[in-house]
Amino acid sequence: MLADIPVHRPSSLEEALALLADPPDGERPTPMAGGTDIMVVLNSRHVVPSSVLDLWKLDELRGLSVQDDGTLWIGALSTYRSIIASPLANAHCPALVEAARTVGAVQIQSRGTLGGNVANASPAGDSLPVLLAQGCDVVLQSRDGGRRTRSFDGFYAGYRQADIQPGELIIGFRIHALPPGATSWYRKVGTRLAQAISKVVLAGVAACGDDGTLTTLRIAAGSVAPTPIRLAAAEAAGLGGRPTDVAAAVGAGARADVTPIDDVRSNALYRREVSGRLVESWVRSL
């Protein structure tokens, strides 16, 4: 029974990392932030962890701030709701705020965390393309290994494989500053408007030089490959050109970049086509 699974409730990060390094019952507990992914898994009874490490009390992992270098710090335990409400997030990473608004519905937004979305490593995680497109570093920590910072690009080695080492927790994210004059973009295509898993989720950052040609073009997509991906061919097709001139080529690049599958929610053809069309429409609108 679910209720029989022991739960540890550390009240400091130190205590939490110690529990992970040195589990009292020998088996490493499974971290739980908002629980909105993990409870679904537990409920299905496919996986039964030996114990759960409830992170909810770790206020150290909450909060948003802007660093001296202009990066936006978001604690791993920050909920979508706190991101939506944060003036800093709205100013420095508006696409993430848009993404947060499309996650689940109000209940999930109040409980689900950015750290959970990243650690859960679903290719359909809605925040992930935003972090990829804008650029971001992940900060992790373990008792024995101390703090470690790594780029979010390449964080997933494969389907549902996040670079989180045994004993580590994600502490937070450093989201890179948008280049001067850049705009960002976010678009989710779900199976319906609310409470829906993405069929395609896209994010982009773009800036044009004085001559009107694209000097920055970073596009990322989710639900179209085993991990969230950067759309390299699309970016290459667009950089240096005028948006209206290159829009079609960027769209074609996006169609080539994605490697979607058929599943119960949609099909590969649709995902590829929609990725191309939406990217093309966005670039055209720049």
Partner: protein, 797 residues
């Protein structure tokens, strides 16, 4: 009329809003055990061996049953299903064994510990393939053991009138096509479950999530007989229901299994499905394919309609197999068509077996009919609303099926819908946007539907000593508001305040017979029975008043004189007016109808007590009434007969916008205009209609039980999408046309189902108007729409 057309707080509102209503999932009996069922892992296989020994050894298990150690219990109106399967499984959810244990977890663990060995058999999942020669037979013998040669079910519904071939040849314009509709789930808020309990005399009580308590009693009594329990009776009690939508029209294997487990263990046994199980193991609405052709002359008058339906029934027959009985309504009688061909094939496959759902075949057929009508309008170059108006049904007509339509507000429904959509400006407008409007209409039974010999409802009315009215009806409140309608009609018809009307829990031991709450009949038949009973009850009261009123008034006058010696005498000579016909009863007071002098008004409770305690033999105030609507049981082979006392009509209009990048459809506005006869409770009518629209939107755009070789791929709300409040966040204009139906209680027609019938074709027609492509199979997903848009563009370039 004081309460008709108003919305007093419904009697179940507070209990439901505060979580105090007792649904089956809340119900507990002393000493109750929990049942769990072991389902098949194959779509079609021989059962070679069932080993229950491990399950039996698990502590807390009280019984493990299979077809081997229990009497055979057959069910289904075709008797083609067994509570526990013997020899063979025919679908993934076939019940092979069951366990009763002291808690649900142990029961589930034990059910999983049962070992079953199968020999897989070739299976068939497509109804057309199932009809091909050499297809695997789902049932190789009939219930009597005689060999069967085809997967065609032995059920026939047909209608031929006029000469369709001649009419087709003579038509100026013809349009035809094929449409299909998916398996969908009823998605009741309250999931299925029951408790079965035997008393020491071996009489049975079943708490059942049913819409047919009395037919369920008959079915359960049949099971008792099959179990060798002769001369025993089943009592059916209906708890609060969180929606029915057709799932309670049949009795189910899980109910018989809990009966068998209760019989084995001597304890009450509950079987309760959770949401996952409801999706996986409860019968959905069937899928159907409809080939439809219609033609018209140069002036747009319909000349013929040709309809062929193939219905995938799954592995067993439920009442849902009789969908074509209701398909006949739109097929023969929606708009005026002189020449009609209707035929259907109901096919057994190894898919999950299907059952009834709201609309009962009507949404399936209307999707094809109304989509096809738009195509015909296009062929003929006639505006689609105009084409419908040209062929509109009118009051006092008899349709080719023999439906006697007395009141019919269809013309007004069509006109109002067009007006509310700004049809003339928006339809076909090449405005550069991907917006469009569409409409579709409906005909449905409005005065119950006779699909059974009796189509009746009984009512028992009783006044207690305080003037409270106790009402026992066999009709089932499942959230639709039946009890509110009964309160309102009782209040007006009998003359007590609505909150003095207490409605007894539906229970076969205390309530009078009712065929079941389906076919939008609940309020229509129960309120008609109530009106009959009301006359009897008032008559009883007034006859008692003839004797007792004088003394009660004298007493009141005496008291008045005592308080105020100068009080004026009554304004008229009331003694001379005493006559049963002169009395009235309003708001719980009996008085002579021609005065409102307070002294001359006698409290009903007082009068009843006086009658009750009268010297020399008192009396009680209990009456019963039985209403069977003036309708005919149709001849299904001929598709002839006036199956309902009256007919509900309506039109729905939709404005949509299509995102041509993603194929997403956004509804901008809906208009629904329904001929309801008369509004009983406007709040409930609105709720019922908006709920139906949401179900219609789900049917049109989102919902589908996806299967792969008979296995359900999306048995959960993560992947089975119904509209949420966000998808329904658009203006809905509702309008109710009151045609005052003479057979209806105070003029009302049944409106339980109709709201969902024309929604999908209205949306499909609006999409076609918006982007010029027509999707023929529901749901209209962005995937299908985008593919169709691409195909259209490729064709154009």
């Amino acid at each position: 009329m004081t309460y008709m057309g108003t919305s007093p707080t419904r009697p179940d509102a507070a209990a439901k809003a505060t979580g105090r209503a007792e649904y089956i999932s809340d119900a507990v009996r002393p000493g109750m055990l929990h049942g769990a069922i072991r389902f098949s892992e194959h779509a079609h296989a021989r059962i070679l061996r069932i080993d229950t020994s491990k399950a039996e050894r698990i502590p807390g298990v009280r019984a493990v049953i299979t077809a081997e150690n229990t009497p055979e219990v057959r069910l289904g109106f075709l008797r083609d299903n067994l509570a526990l399967k013997k020899g063979k499984v025919r679908q993934f959810r076939d019940e092979i064994a069951a366990v009763a244990a002291i808690d649900p977890d142990i029961a589930a663990e034990a059910a999983a510990a049962i070992e079953v060995e199968y020999e897989p058999l070739p299976a068939v999942f497509d109804p057309i393939e199932a009809l091909a020669e050499g297809a695997p037979l789902v049932h190789d013998v009939d219930p009597r053991g005689r060999p069967v040669t085809s997967n065609l079910m032995p059920v026939h519904f047909r209608h031929f009138s006029g000469d369709v071939e001649k009419a087709r040849a003579a038509s100026a314009y013809v349009a035809e096509g094929e449409w299909s509709t998916p398996l969908i789930q009823q998605t009741c808020m309250g999931t299925a479950g029951c408790i079965a309990e035997f008393d020491p005399q071996m009489n049975l009580t079943v708490w059942a999530k049913t819409q047919i308590p009395f037919l369920a009693q008959r079915d359960f009594n049949g099971a008792l007989a099959q179990m060798g329990l002769r001369n025993k009776n089943a009592r059916v009690i209906v708890p609060a229901l969180g929606g029915g939508f057709g799932t309670g029209l049949d009795t189910h294997c899980y109910e018989y299994i809990s009966i068998l487990l209760a019989w084995k263990t001597g304890k009450p046994v509950k079987v309760q499905y959770n949401r996952d199980q409801e999706f996986a193991y409860l019968s959905p609405r069937q899928s159907a394919t409809v080939r439809m052709a219609q033609g018209c002359d140069r002036d747009g008058r319909l000349t013929f309609r040709h309809v062929h339906v193939v219905q995938d029934n799954g592995a067993y027959g439920s009442w849902g197999a009789t969908y074509p009985s209701v398909m006949l309504l739109p097929a023969t009688s929606l708009y005026r068509v002189p020449n009609i061909y209707f035929d259907c094939e109901l096919v057994y496959t190894n898919n999950t077996y299907a059952q009834a759902m709201r609309g009962y075949g009507n949404p399936e057929l209307t999707f094809a009919l109304e989509s096809n009508l738009d195509q015909l309008a296009e062929e003929a170059g006639i505006d689609a609303a105009q084409l419908r108006l040209i062929n509109c049904n009118e009051p006092n007509e008899v349709t080719p099926m023999g439906l006697k339509v007395a009141t019919c507000g269809l013309r007004e429904c069509l006109e109002q819908t067009a007006e509310r959509l700004d049809w003339d400006n928006k339809r076909g407008a090449p405005d550069g946007t991907a917006r469009g409007v569409g409409m579709a209409s409906l005909i449905h039974v409005g005065g119950s539907g006779r699909i059974y010999r009796s189509d009746a409802s009984g009512v028992i009315l009783r006044f207690d000593d305080w003037g409270n009215l106790y009402l026992s009806s066999g009709g089932v409140e499942m959230g639709q508001g039946l009890h509110s309608s009964l309160q309102i009609v009782a209040a007006d018809a009998i003359g007590v305040a609505p909150d003095r009307v207490f409605i007894n829990q539906t229970d076969t031991s205390t309530c009078p017979w009712d065929v079941g709450t389906h076919a939008s009949r609940g309020a229509f038949t129960a309120c008609n029975a109530l009106l009959m009973g009301a006359t009897k009850l008032r008559d009883k009261v007034f006859r008692a008043a003839v004797e007792l009123y004088p003394q009660l008034v004298e007493e009141a006058l005496r008291k008045q004189r005592k308080r105020d010696p100068d009080a004026p005498a009554p304004s008229f000579d009331w003694r001379s007016r005493i006559d049963a016909d002169a009395f009235d009863l309003r708001e719980g007071q009996v008085f002579l109808s021609n005065t409102d002098d307070p002294v001359l008004r006698v409290d009903l409770g007082k009068l009843i007590r006086a009658a009750h305690f009268r010297d020399g033999g008192g009396q009680m105030f209990t009456v019963e009434a039985f209403y069977d609507p003036p309708s005919e049981l149709p001849d299904w082979e001929q598709g002839q007969g006036n199956m309902s006392a009256c007919y509900t009509f309506g039109t729905q209009g939709v404005e949509v916008e299509v995102d041509t990048d993603t194929g997403d459809v956004r509804i901008l506005k809906m208009a629904a205009v329904l001929d309801v006869g008369k509004v009983i409770n406007p709040q409930i009518l609105r709720g019922q209609t908006i709920g139906a629209l949401a179900q219609g939107v789900g049917y049109a755009l989102y919902e589908e039980v996806k299967t792969e070789r008979g296995r359900i791929l999306n048995p959960n709300f993560t992947d089975y999408k119904i509209p949420t409040a966000v998808e329904m966040d658009f203006p809905i204009e509702l309008e109710f046309v009151e045609t005052d139906e003479p057979t209806g209680p105070y003029g009302a027609k049944g409106i339980g189902e109709p709201g969902l019938v024309p929604t999908a074709p209205a949306i499909a027609n609006a999409i076609a108007d918006a982007v010029g492509v027509r999707i023929h199979d529901l749901p209209i997903t962005p995937e299908k729409l985008l593919a169709a848009l691409r195909a259209k563009n490729e064709e154009a370039t």
